[in-house]
Structures are given as C-alpha cells and as structure tokens.
C-alpha cells in the first residue's frame, strides 16, 4: 500500500542545531550522533487530534481564569496557523504558557525574586478556526533574569506549542515582542542561523486587533511543515495515494 506524501524537511538554516553552546543547557542535552533520516510513514503523517470542546473560552482568555484580574498590561495575541504551502491549518490545538507581568512563572523551580500573581496562571490553549485563526487574551509577560551567563535576561516572550495535522508537524516555539532591547543579547533567540527565520519569531504590533482603551494587539503567524506535494499532484504523476 502507498500513503499520502510525507512532510517537508526543514529548509537549511531555518531551524536550530541541537547543540548551541552559548545556550548552556544544550551542552549536556543535545544528541551528538547524527540524526537518522526516516522516510515519513503512516506513523509520521498521522498524528493526534483534539475535540473542539477541549478549548473553552476561559482557556484562551488568561485574564479571566481567576476571581480577580491579573496585574499588567492586557494584550491580544492572535494570528493564523498556515502550512508551508500557505494553506490554513484548521482545528488544530495551540497551547501557550508564559511568565506573569513581573517576570515570574507559576512553577516551583522558578526562584526569580519577583512576586507571583494570585490572579494569573500563565497557561492557555485554543483551537484554530476553519481559517487557521487563533486568538488569546493575556497580559504582557515580564522579562526575567536567568543563569545562562553573566547578567543574562530573557526578552519578554510567550511559549507556543502546536500539533498540526501530523506527528511530523509538531512544533514548539516562542513569540517575542517588537522593539524589545534584550532580543539582540538572547542566545535562545539567536540559536537559528537564518536571520529572516529568527525575525519571524517577533510578533507585529497590530492596530486591527487592538481594542480601544482596553488592550494592544500583537499578531503572530505560525507556519507548520507542509506536504512534500499535494495528493492531487501525486495523482497527476500517475501514483495513487
């Protein structure tokens, strides 16, 4: 039996290498053996999917998960999830997590001397709509220090996790904010060689989604790996999918 085509491999330079010594945590965790290239089989071109009911309104509004309102600047983070063939990725799960406005995560191992916010957990999830759109309401996360090197500070960022249609399309990334003065010093941001690819991690201030007297809007579009060729093209070459 033959299957639908596999997913595209990374375009050179647009993804980080595993070992990036200036990001100290990669030194003892990055595999040193070359990765084995596995043709995409049914195991890789299929993947988990989730019912839309898994994401309720509260899950995508991080400012309404507690009795009171969280401290900080309310923002709207929205965008589209597309594949490399510019097609929207509908009904796919998007998860986010982030620090609070003071730069502190609600995690037992976060020892940063900054206050927790009893009204902010910092986690959310949403399903993309039929056009691949997602939208979160949250607060702008604070910058925070970390132990990577002397006087190291992470730029403000929101973590994103996406599934896409297949095991092969799974992606975890981070969204940054335009104009953040810490970005040029951040080894995690700089772990990817291709400058354009890096800069696509920086969201764009978005007048359209900004709510008057309420919240600034930031747009962050995400691209997942696309099919090598469409099933239709495969048929055109005489193969049956």
């Amino acid at each position: 039996m033959s299957f639908p085509p596999g997913y595209r491999r990374y375009y050179p330079g647009t993804q980080p290498r595993h070992l990036h010594p200036s990001y100290v945590s990669s030194r003892k965790r990055a595999p040193l053996q070359p990765l084995v290239r596995l043709p995409h089989t049914l195991s890789e071109i299929t993947g988990p999917s989730f019912e839309p009911e898994i994401a309720d309104v509260k899950a995508s509004d991080l400012t309404r998960q507690h009795a009171g309102e969280p401290l900080g600047e309310r923002i709207i983070v929205s965008g589209r999830v597309l594949d490399e063939n510019s097609r929207p990725v509908p009904q796919t799960l998007v998860e986010i997590w982030q620090a609070n406005a003071a730069g502190r995560y609600l995690h037992s191992r976060d020892q940063h001397h900054a206050p927790l916010d009893p009204n902010f957990t910092g986690c959310g999830h949403a399903m993309t709509d039929s056009e691949g759109r997602y939208r979160f309401v949250t607060i702008r996360p604070g910058e925070y220090p970390w132990a990577n090197h002397y006087n190291a500070w992470r730029p403000a960022h929101i973590h994103f996790s996406l599934f896409g249609p297949a095991f092969a399309t799974r992606l975890v990334t981070q969204m940054y904010f335009p104009g953040d003065p810490l970005i040029p010093y951040d080894p995690i941001f700089h772990c990817t060689d291709d400058e354009k690819a890096r800069n696509r991690l920086i969201s764009i201030f978005d007048w359209e989604t900004t709510i008057p007297a309420e919240a600034l809007g930031y747009r962050f579009d995400i691209v997942l790996s696309g099919r090598e060729s469409t099933p239709m093209e495969t048929h055109a070459h005489g193969e049956k999918s």
């Binding site: 990374y10 595993h18 040193l32 910092g122 772990c191």
Partner: protein, 189 residues
Amino acid sequence: MSLHATTSQTVGPFFKIGFSWLYRDNLAGPGVSGERVEISGRIVDGDGQPVPDGVIEIWQANSNGKYLHPDDAQKKPIEQGFTGFGRIPTDDEGRFHFTTIKPGRVPGPDGNLQSPHLAVSVFTRGLLRRLVTRIYFPDEPGNNQDFALNLVEASRRGTLIAKKIDGRPGALEWNVILQGPGETVFFEA
C-alpha cells in the same frame, strides 16, 4: 507560494505549567482491546544526570494497526475510547511511566508491514527542537525486517527496543539517553 516552517525554540525550564492540563499516562482505558503494556524509564543527560524537566509524547496505532486519523485509509476498525495520544512528564528523578496497548503493525514504505512501534517526541529544557524517536517491543519477529530499525547501525538499534522486566509480565523498560555512551537513536523530524 512557499513559506518556511516557523523556527523551533526550546520549551524552556517551566513548560510543564503549559503541558500538564493534557497529561495522559494511560492511553488505553478499560475495554480497549490489545495486549496491555506498562512502559517505564528515565531521561538522562550526557553526564548521566536525570532530567526532571522532561516530557515525552506518544503517538501510536490501535491493536488493529489503525491510526485514528483521516490520512489512514486502511480498512481496519478504529476503537472507541482510544486516540493513540499520550503525554507523560518525568519526575524529580527523571522517571516516566505509562500504560498502553501494543499497537498492531502498520504498513511501511518498502511494502512490508512495520514492526509494532510507538512514535515518541521528547521535550526538555536545553533541547532547541523536539527529539523524535521510536519504541519497539522485545521478542517481535518483525523487528529483524523492520525498515526503520534497519536504517540504524546494528550497535545502536537496541536503544529503540524496550526491555522486559524480569518477573513482571507486561512491564517494559525503555530509557532516553540524550547524549554520550549509549545515546538513544533520534530521527530527523
């Protein structure tokens, strides 16, 4: 128009706050058919130190060798209550533990059936991209002919095959060694 996939970034040290709502360490509830297996192991780094800030995700077929997915066109039955997705965190000692059923065989690119396997993603702080690997089962006659196992040099193949635990039927051990001697085989995503 052709775009490039968004650059991967590390999950960071605190990602369990974002992942925990979807933890699933029992993939096959009561009534799901198939041979029950209990898989446990550890994630360790290049110094042999446990990785407490780790999560593995599982994707697998049901016992008929059918994935719950529209691109699986095989005429095999799906099963109520079985999605094939698992997400399991490591504990402070880097240990993980989950229960599932052994999947059936699914077709491979060489026209032969693949040996039963679980597709695995590994996430930890320090990994700039997820790691992709597979768990195979011991004593499977199909392992010798499995196309993916045969892509791997023989001396490293064992890192992909879970081991039986003496005296505990159905219990298997499989570890993730991120780096160094005995390094687990990882595949290009």
